[in-house]
């Protein structure tokens, strides 16, 4: 690959010599637009979770990277993603979450679509009371579907439509967590929460990648999980993160724990791993629960974090589940000030992207290296 931009070349140097992406990638609308195609559109990005549309007909409009999308569970029980627009005049079809009982009717001129996206009715299109026209072929005017795939309940989308199949693209991470390739059960309403952070989406990824900050930002973890109990994970071009060797299960006063995922290797008895799956999904696995965080950027300076917790069984103890969600929420909230602080720091003209600790920041640099490579590749294609 030819890298023309010297800054992107610097980012791709070895960790000990590299610098991070420059300020513009955290603050500028033009860089944000470039990343939309190069970092999100070209591969598989997380949009939502399938558990948000549990019943047939459930539909949720989602603005993702400024694009109006529609997440829906269609009549054939498949989770699908469409561009949330009528093919007639581009009107938004669904404005708020609701259940589609029959057809999706455009509120403008009432063109109707099935939940699988077919255009099924075009009232008065041939004149009053005439609902067809020879020049208007309904079979070519279905909703625009966005390629999607559900893995570990996360709905991943490929906006370009040209990425390798999800299972091929993510083969290495799927294999890494092969023990966990089994059903996961969303904990329900008390196991989902959202946080809004006044910071660029990449800062949330970067912070999540590394354990370096744990003793300083999450001192409560120090009591049982020391820095030296963690290890770095770097899988070039795909994911990076951290693992711990001292995961301790949550217990109530009676000693009750969540049930384990069956058949796990012994390394997971006290092990847990946390991966930033590029570009925007943060995941964690433990012997008895897992989580997924979907980052939805809202312009260059704001990120909505949607957190979902999962268990090995459908029925788990209510109190314990709520405690677990509260515990994780506290940890994730502790991270907000650093993400927002780094965002403010990107307004300093003297900041050159910063340096990485060769020992501790490998996972963060792995993410920067991936981003710089993708950006350079996109620019090369454009040129």
């Amino acid at each position: 690959m030819t890298v023309i931009d010297p800054i992107l070349a610097d980012v791709q140097k070895p960790t000990s010599q590299a610098r991070g992406l420059p300020n513009a990638h955290y603050t500028d609308a033009s860089a944000f637009a470039e990343e939309r195609d190069a970092l999100f559109g070209a591969g598989w990005a997380g949009l939502a979770v399938a558990s948000e549309v549990p019943q047939i007909g459930d539909a949720i409009p989602i603005t993702f990277l400024d694009m109006p999308l529609l997440l829906i569970r269609s009549r054939d029980n498949a989770v699908r993603v469409f561009q949330n627009i009528c093919r007639h005049r581009g009107m938004i079809l669904v404005e708020a979450p609701r259940r589609i009982e029959g057809a999706i009717r455009c509120p403008y001129h009432s063109w109707c679509y099935s939940t699988q996206g077919q255009l099924v009715a075009t009232p008065h299109v041939g004149g009053p009371g005439y609902n067809s026209h020879a020049d208007l072929d309904r079979t070519t005017l279905g909703l625009i579907e966005v390629r999607s795939h559900v893995w570990r309940d996360v709905v991943w989308i490929n906006l370009s439509g040209h990425a390798p199949d999800f299972e091929a693209a993510m083969a290495d991470v799927i294999a890494r967590w092969g023990d966990f390739e089994q059903p996961v059960h969303h904990g329900g309403a008390d196991s989902r929460f959202s946080l809004t952070v006044e910071g660029n989406w990449k800062l949330a990824i970067e912070n999540y990648c590394e354990s370096y900050h744990l003793p300083w930002v999450h001192p409560g973890l120090n009591s049982y999980s020391r820095l030296e109990d963690h290890y770095n994970i770097e899988m070039d071009g795909l994911t990076s993160g951290q693992g711990t060797k001292v995961y301790r299960q949550l217990r109530d006063e009676a000693g009750t724990t969540f049930p384990d995922f069956p058949g796990l290797d012994a390394k997971w008895d006290a092990g847990a791993e946390y991966l930033s799956i590029y570009p925007n999904v943060l995941m964690g696995v433990h012997r008895d629960h897992a989580f997924a965080i979907i980052l939805r950027p809202d312009g260059p300076g704001r990120t909505h974090e949607h957190v979902h917790l999962y268990y090995a069984a459908e029925d788990t103890d209510d109190t314990l589940r709520r405690r677990n969600a509260a515990q994780w929420k506290e940890v994730f909230e502790e991270d907000i000030f650093v993400v927002e602080g780094m965002q403010l720091g990107r307004r300093a003209p003297g900041f050159d992207g910063g340096r990485f600790s060769p020992a501790m920041d490998g996972p963060t640099h792995c993410f920067h290296r991936w981003a710089a490579g993708r950006l350079a590749q996109a620019r090369t294609v454009e040129a």
């Binding site: 029959g102 077919q118 099924v120 009715a121 067809s132 020879a134």
Partner: protein, 91 residues
């Protein structure tokens, strides 16, 4: 359209009562003196039936097809491929 029916339609639109809209527009079509008016009201009944997932949609569509105001098969079963045949199309 009678004033009563007109008022009932306005109320059903105001509350988003799809069930009522299907029935009232169908009644308006039945009461209409001219085929164009009937086609107009049948269309509305059909669309709201589609939106509601109402089984009346099928008969309404058949009626529209019979009047040459809706394309031919398939039946309105949602999630079937959209109409390919062009019977009843106004050009």
């Amino acid at each position: 359209m009678s004033r009563t029916l007109d008022s009932a339609l306005s109320a059903a639109h105001a509350t988003g009562d799809l069930d009522a809209l299907v029935g009232l527009y169908h009644r308006a079509a039945t009461d209409a003196n001219a085929e164009d008016a009937a086609g107009f009201y049948l269309t509305h009944a059909y669309i709201f039936a589609l939106e509601r997932g109402d089984p009346r949609a099928e008969a309404l569509r058949d009626h529209l097809v019979f009047l040459g105001r809706e394309s031919g098969p398939p039946a309105p079963g949602l999630d079937q491929p959209a109409a390919g045949a062009m019977g009843g199309v106004r050009t």
